[in-house]
Symmetry: C2
Subunit: 342 residues, 2 copies
């Protein structure tokens, strides 16, 4: 595992409780992994939180993710494809974390039109609704490293060309740019964070629709072996709470308006190294390395890890959770809660 | 006016008549400016040509564009948003020139959803139809320099980041990438040419929906003064027939599969220089320079001209028509045909 660079040893910036206290916030995809992790952080900071989620079973939303804070947030079940509910929901909000999306790469190839509706049409509609009914909001859009495609160089910074390798990546690329455009043309303040692999408590573990790491965690907790496909690919991983803090800092700071930032993680690991770290954090277990299936090979991107110096320099964020500690906390969470996630 | 580079003095490649003779071709947007210019070249080369156009009045299609070749092509009026007609139309085709699109930048801001339907949803649907019913085709997609946004450096090559400045640019960017993706993942052969300003006989001149130059030409032919907004911006211009040849060469050559190329023009001019060239070619006339309106300034991109060395080197194309000669031919065309274009 490659250690983080030495300049990361400074004290990281954290969300400002005074700024967040009473702040009126909406989170789309609020019952999903990152949305609900963010909801916990927002509640800790005293924000007035509305969580919107469609609870489409194949996507990330799970009421179990917010079971412990239901009395401290307002939950509204509606789909980002429905503009009517959103017109009402956004009108008094000051910050919108726009995390709702279709995220499965394979689903986007099987049904490109649903991906288009969610990741393009609905995004554009949300922006139009905000422009009309909530011009005061700051929107933080969760973009993805997936839009870079197979890197030309590593680590990948924001100057790297976008060459998406699936329909999902193309539509997320468009969705990101709608946000930047509405910032630039209409003064609707928005920024985008291109997230890398994110993991932690509340991630989807019942299948690999969100991340392969979810299935690994589940099988490790169940005492069963898990499968590593390939194994040599290098990746970076952001712990959920660190990602939530990054999103909150992006919302707080006006200097992020109209800008796009990579978000990286704590160091770089190969998938085999990650599997070994997981086994160690679990206090035992076993995995098998398999060759990459042909169907995935065509859209595989090889190694990826982010250069997120721009975001670190702009807002002072850096990951607070080492990968080993994050994996241990994740395993501990699912040991307690497993049945609610299957 | 900056002259073209000296390496352009070699004999340019032209479409191969033997390759095109009897070739079964479909042109979407076939009654528009570039589509109909291409249709004339295809007919000259003996191709079997189907032209599809929606004839939506605000868009580029005009039956006058093909009045002289109606007995040598098959014209089918249907909209690219209608998948049913396309399933039938594509099935026996060998080449599809995919030129149908919404091209007005201002329209895309006023009605982003229609732009999305035409430039994203319909493009994806056409690709899905081809994948199912015409896996043998080669598709040449007409992309646009608009997706680069305001250049970081000049001339702009294909390594320049895409930072579209309007909804149209974002959707065209996605549309381009759907084509590249379907090439890479499904083996449906496709390439994209990022066109710069294109002009010539058959361009829309009754308003500025397609290009400001159309209105200039009309007013010059009518003996009226025209307005130049700004005037200092530098641009490059491709003559319609040269663009048609570029599209045909892109279709012929397997080495373009899965690739994206800029298309430039003959030299670089400021808009004021262009206006002077037009007046000279017209044998007289007058123009007024006005300040850029605020509404346009927000989405203005400053100077733009393409580095199209990649395309020139890959297929041997270069523009055959100097700008002055192209303007003269354009004026001559509209002197003959003006009433059919108003």
């Amino acid at each position: 595992m490659t250690p983080p660079p030495p300049d990361d040893r400074t004290v990281p910036a954290r969300p400002d409780p005074a700024w967040w206290s009473g702040r009126r916030v909406l989170v789309t995809g609020g019952l999903g992994f990152i949305g609900s992790t963010l909801a916990h952080r927002l509640v800790e900071h005293g924000a007035d939180v509305v969580l919107v989620d469609s609870l489409v079973p194949e996507y990330g939303g799970n009421p179990a993710n917010v079971a412990d804070i239901t009395d401290r947030v307002r939950i509204n079940i509606s789909d980002i494809r429905d503009p009517h509910s959103f017109r009402h929901l956004v009108q008094d909000r000051e910050v919108i974390f726009n995390l709702a999306g279709q995220t499965s790469h394979l689903d986007s190839m099987r049904d490109p039109f649903t991906d288009l509706e969610i990741n393009c049409t609905a995004q554009l509609r949300l922006l139009e609704v905000c422009r009309a009914a909530a011009p005061q909001v700051k929107i933080v859009y969760a973009s993805t490293r997936q839009i870079y495609g197979r890197p030309d160089y590593l680590p990948v910074d924001e100057r790297h060309l976008l060459r998406p390798t699936d329909v999902n990546g193309i539509n997320k690329m468009a969705g990101e740019w709608y946000h930047i455009l509405y910032n630039n043309v209409y003064g609707l303040r928005a920024c985008a964070l291109r997230l890398t692999n994110t993991y932690g408590p509340r991630m989807r573990i019942k299948d690999a629709r969100q991340t392969f790491l979810g299935v690994w965690v589940r099988l490790a907790v169940e005492g069963r072996p898990f499968e590593v496909w390939g194994g040599e690919q290098k990746r970076d991983f952001t712990y959920g709470e660190d990602c939530a803090d990054a999103l909150m800092l992006a919302a707080e700071r006006p200097e992020t308006d109209g800008r796009i930032f990579n978000l990286g993680g704590d160091g770089i690991v190969s998938l085999t190294e990650l599997a070994e770290l997981l086994i160690a954090a679990n206090g035992g277990g076993r995995f098998e390395v398999h060759e990459f299936p042909a169907e995935r090979k065509r859209i595989d991107i090889g190694d990826y890890y982010a250069d997120d110096a721009l975001f670190r320099e702009t807002v002072g964020w850096r990951p607070a959770t080492p990968l080993a500690a994050g994996l241990a906390a994740t395993l501990a969470y699912y040991r307690e809660t497993l049945p609610r996630y299957l």
